[in-house]
């Protein structure tokens, strides 16, 4: 135990072993298993008979060449880009707003976190009801303000539904962006702003030449983490639209769920899941390389 003995390195590893074992079992193994599954033909009878013949890359051909794949890919891209743009812009605006000191500022900022902490199923259920075309409060308000004559078909129109799930995902993501960006803003030395003020720089110039350059590394991390979270979002879409109408809100993640757990095509679900892993991996590599290097100098 005491001095560096032969057992010392082993003892150290004993601290890490349970966690590493868990991570291998619950991340490493599933990822590997998915590759194997994607090369087999699963049907509803497979789990009963244990019979899943090897079919090579057929699942990939079928999944990637199907009508739904390009649509789901496009929807995923629009969903990610739209969500990130909205979350980041509004999150940054709120972070800048809360960067100023004012009474109750801290409390208000903390309460702002609620949407991010709520279970997504809860948020999505509430929004689904609020966005109902005929009876929802959103259209009710819009009609009362005479902004639209009959109401926006939020969940009953293909572009409306995609817009709706993006809006809700933005709503969920704003607090996260605000908190991180707020932290980033606080790390910018005050003297820089004082100097700028002495030079007579306006707020816009200050933002462009001081705030933004110094906030960029943090902004990069926020955007990448946002992308990683968004690519896997399932709850919001399943609860609000179920992927519809007419598959308009079907993303790669919901398609993979649908293939595996609704249609029982685990092989094809796994193939699509692996595409999803690749997409995430690209984000992850960028995140780990560029993002962190910039952040830590």
């Amino acid at each position: 135990m005491r001095n560096e003995g032969r057992w010392e390195p082993v003892a150290r590893w004993l601290f890490v072993t349970p966690a590493v074992g868990y991570l291998l079992l619950f991340f490493g193994l599933p990822v590997a298993e998915n590759v194997v599954m994607s090369l087999r033909d699963y049907t509803a009878t497979t789990f009963y008979t244990g019979d899943a013949p090897f079919v090579g890359p057929r699942n990939y051909f079928e999944t990637l060449s199907s009508d739904q794949f390009p649509q789901a890919l496009l929807t995923t891209v629009v969903f990610i880009v739209g969500s990130l743009a909205g979350q980041f812009t509004l999150g940054l605006a709120l972070a800048l707003f809360f960067a100023r000191a004012f009474p109750l500022g801290g409390v208000l900022r903390s309460l702002l976190l609620l949407p991010w902490l709520l279970p997504m199923v809860v948020s999505a259920t509430t929004w689904r009801w609020m966005l109902d075309t005929d009876t929802g409060v959103v259209n009710h308000a819009l009609r009362a303000l005479h902004l639209v004559p009959s109401g926006v078909p939020w969940l009953t129109d293909t572009s409306g539904a995609l817009t709706s799930v993006i809006l809700v995902n933005i709503w969920v993501g704003i607090p996260f962006n605000t908190v991180i960006l707020h932290g980033g803003l606080r790390d910018i030395p005050t003297q820089l702003y004082e100097a700028a003020e002495l030079d007579g720089a306006g707020p816009l110039t200050t933002f462009r030449h001081i705030t933004w350059p110094l906030l960029r590394p943090v902004a990069g991390v926020v955007l990448l983490l946002g992308a990683i979270y968004t690519v896997r979002v399932l709850d919001i879409i399943l609860v609000m639209t179920g992927g519809g109408p007419a598959d308009a809100t079907q993303t790669l993640a919901t398609r993979a769920y649908d293939l595996s757990f609704q249609q029982f095509e685990f092989g094809r679900g796994a193939a699509l899941g692996n595409v999803l892993v690749l997409v995430s991996l690209v984000f992850a590599v960028v995140h780990l390389r560029a993002g962190r290097r910039a952040l830590h100098g």
């Binding site: 509803a44 005929d134 969940l155 009953t156 109408p245 757990f261 029982f264």
Partner: protein, 416 residues
């Protein structure tokens, strides 16, 4: 022991004077199944999709009563309709199937094919005398896997007050339907409501229009099918039908109707008891309109069958089969039919039914012509059904023209 038919239900039945639906029933006498019972099975699990609170309670009552005859307690669970089949498939794979399983009749062959169900002949359950179409829907590879206590179909329900106020007669053709729906539409109220959900329930509601116009699930890209789809597109396009039909279930459609938010709707007779409980709602029911006068209305055969899944032990299956036999014996069949305004699926019981409740005669006749969804395609039906609701969704959202939507549906139905 059998749950008594409520006096109220009889009274309600009498209100059904003007009922004229479209389906068929034929068959002969019923009888309880026997069952060699062993082991000490004291409770069974049952799964269905009767999630509506009162419907769930009524089925619990019936299952309890039938469980008592077999000497078991029944744990009764209900899940939403659209999630039943995926759940059953997962339960089959994880060997956690319930002892008694209710399935919508077009799903039986698909589930039986996976090996999750057991044929009923080995338990000595009486499968005689059933209406041919419903027995066929519960049969796979020559063996009967599921039996339905009652059968039914859908019809056009309308709010009498609203029609009278607007001076509109009950529509018989598609043109009349469109005109009536338009005249019945007011702020906060639609003329017509259907279920155009992206589920098999949405497909089921579209079938009367497709079939009556000569459309066929084996070949979806026909002008007849396009005409039917065009009707729904026009109803939504003119504002007579909410675009929300894309998301509504049949239960939602019913809720809209009883809340006075739609003047007409497509729904099934099992909603009648709930409608009767709604004060100040004066409703009527009529056959679903056809495109041209003289066309014959063809509606889908509805009805849920009970099955005995491949559950943990033979002793449990034997017990479950006895409960199933009880659910489908003539007494319970009759009671169920009276409770939900459906039609007993044994022809002999159905004729006794019409003697006891003459107002249901039109209903019984209407079920006579109903077509089973799996009659033509068998286990390939789910694929066609998916194609149909996908086409409906694509057309109602304006993503594609009805012709284009159906062409794609046909491709995906016949594709790999």
């Amino acid at each position: 022991m059998p749950p008594a038919v409520r006096p109220q239900a009889r009274r309600i039945t009498a209100l059904l004077g003007s009922v004229a639906l479209v389906l068929a029933a034929a068959g002969c006498g019923g009888g309880a199944g026997s069952g060699s019972v062993s082991g000490r099975v004291t409770s069974l699990t049952a799964l269905d999709y009767y999630t509506d609170a009162s419907e769930h309670a009524q089925w619990s009552e019936r299952l309890t009563a039938c469980g008592r005859t077999a000497g078991v307690r029944i744990e009764h669970r209900s899940v939403p309709g659209a999630s039943l089949v995926p759940r059953v498939l997962r339960q089959a794979s994880s060997r956690t199937l319930p002892d008694l399983l209710m399935l919508d009749n077009p799903d039986v062959q698909q589930i039986a094919r996976t090996g999750a169900l057991t044929p009923l002949d080995r338990y000595g359950v009486d499968t005689g005398g059933f209406t041919k179409s419903i027995l066929a829907a519960g049969t796979y590879h020559g063996k009967v896997y599921g039996l339905a206590p009652t059968v039914s179909t859908i019809a056009l329900f309308y709010n009498k007050d609203m029609l009278a106020e607007a001076g509109v007669g009950v529509p018989r053709t598609w043109d009349e339907l469109k005109a009536a729906a338009a005249r019945l539409t007011r702020p906060g109220r639609y003329g017509m409501a259907v279920d155009a959900n992206a589920t098999f329930e949405g497909t089921w509601q579209f079938l009367p229009f497709l079939w009556s116009n000569g459309g066929d699930e084996r070949k979806l890209d026909t002008p007849q099918a396009a005409q039917a789809l065009r009707l729904w597109v026009d109803l939504v396009g003119s504002g007579s039908m909410s675009k929300s039909v894309l998301n509504w279930t049949q239960a939602d459609v019913h809720d809209q109707f009883v809340a006075g938010r739609t003047a007409m709707m497509l729904n099934g007779p099992w909603r009648i008891s709930a409608m009767e409980r709604t004060r100040n709602l004066h409703w009527g029911v009529a056959p679903i309109p056809v495109r041209a006068p003289g066309q014959t209305l063809v509606t889908p055969l509805g009805g849920e069958v009970w099955t005995v899944p491949r559950s943990s032990s033979e002793a449990r299956r034997q017990k479950a089969a006895r409960v199933l036999a009880c659910l489908t014996d003539s007494t319970h069949m009759l009671a169920t039919a009276k409770q939900y305004f459906t039609v007993p699926s044994r022809t002999a019981v159905a004729s006794r039914y019409t003697e006891q409740v003459p107002t249901m005669r039109a209903f019984v006749r209407s079920v006579e012509r109903a077509r089973a969804r799996t009659a033509e395609l068998g286990v390939r039906w789910p694929r066609a059904a998916t194609g149909i609701y996908t086409a409906v969704q694509a057309a109602l959202t304006g993503e594609r023209t009805p012709e284009e939507a159906l062409r794609r549906a046909q491709q995906s139905t016949t594709g790999p």
